[in-house]
């Protein structure tokens, strides 16, 4: 990762932070936008700073599996308490 690219990612992270804060302050009913921005930040960190983009094969598979697990847990938590 070159310094220029690192700065680009940093800019993206700060932009998403600004979006989060502004939406939370002025449009608090749009919680999902805030969480999407957070997810975007996490993905930026995961893919670029942690370097996931450089890895092929098994690492990528594990990465997708982890995200899939998060999705499964989300669905489960929402579904289980709603259908009790």
């Amino acid at each position: 990762m070159t310094p220029v690219n690192a700065l680009k990612v940093y800019a993206g992270l700060l932009l998403l932070l600004a979006v989060e804060v502004l939406v939370a302050l002025f449009w608090p009913q749009h919680d999902s936008v805030v969480m999407l921005a957070a997810a975007g930040q996490f993905l930026l960190l995961l893919v670029f700073y942690l370097g996931l983009y450089r890895h092929q094969g098994w690492v990528r598979l594990f990465g997708w599996l982890y995200l899939f697990w998060l999705l499964v847990m989300l669905v489960f938590i929402l579904g289980e308490s709603a259908t009790r």
Binding site: M1, A6, V9, L13, A24, D31, L50
Partner: protein, 213 residues
């Protein structure tokens, strides 16, 4: 871990092999950390869904500005760690040491602000077990407040460890004890850890402070 510079340490036969092993080991450790914090964040998310009114009350009293500043601080420290890594790849020692020190200082600043936040909350009587009566009315607000403390405290411990690791690396580089393969591997591993600690905060911050205002 790594010992002499002459050869990779037992039982590796090649530097690339040892580097790969260190990287995989650190990734697996980070995956474990992600499972731990992921569960905690999901628990917080679950309670937020169950008790939107209590959450609103608790979140209204949180120190939003201080936390936003903290997020900015941590993101910047992550940037500096990445720059330190590139400096190491480009073999510019001075830039490496400066970035490393910068990142460590910023992480320490994060802890200081967090401490400030906690002391404010202590004075407001929000700490569990330290005040007879909480100013929060709804019981679920108190629950959410306590979850906030647990989550941020656990994260804070990890930031403290990061500060320690940053200082250890800085001293190693400054005194010239860290060289070559050993140095770059250790720097890379600490950088990975740093980014995960940052990543966890990136998810924790909106879950605790922003949503449900």
């Amino acid at each position: 871990m790594i010992r002499s510079e002459q050869r990779p340490s037992e039982p590796f036969v090649a530097w690339a092999q040892q580097r790969e092993a260190a990287r995989l080991g650190m990734w697996l450790f980070l995956a474990g950390e992600a499972m731990m914090f992921g569960s905690l964040i999901l628990v917080a998310g679950f309670y937020r869904l169950q008790h939107p009114d209590g959450v609103a009350e608790a979140v209204a009293g949180l120190h939003f500005g201080l936390a936003t500043l903290n997020t900015f601080t941590l993101l910047t420290s992550s940037l500096l760690m990445t720059l330190a890594l590139t400096a190491s790849e480009q073999a510019s020692e001075r830039r490496l040491r400066h970035c490393l020190m910068g990142a460590t200082l910023l992480a320490a600043l994060f802890l200081a602000c967090k401490g400030l936040e906690y002391s404010l909350e202590y004075r407001e009587g929000l700490l569990p077990g330290f005040a007879a009566d909480s100013p929060l009315h709804l019981p679920s607000a108190r629950l959410f407040m306590n979850l906030y403390f647990i989550a941020t405290a656990l994260h804070g411990v990890h930031v403290l460890i990061a500060v320690g690791l940053g200082l250890w690396l800085y001293l190693g580089f400054a005194r010239g004890r860290l060289q070559g393969h050993q140095a770059s591997t250790r720097l890379e591993m600490v950088t990975l850890y740093w980014h995960l600690v940052d990543g966890i905060w990136v998810l924790l911050f909106p879950t605790l402070y922003l949503v449900g205002r």
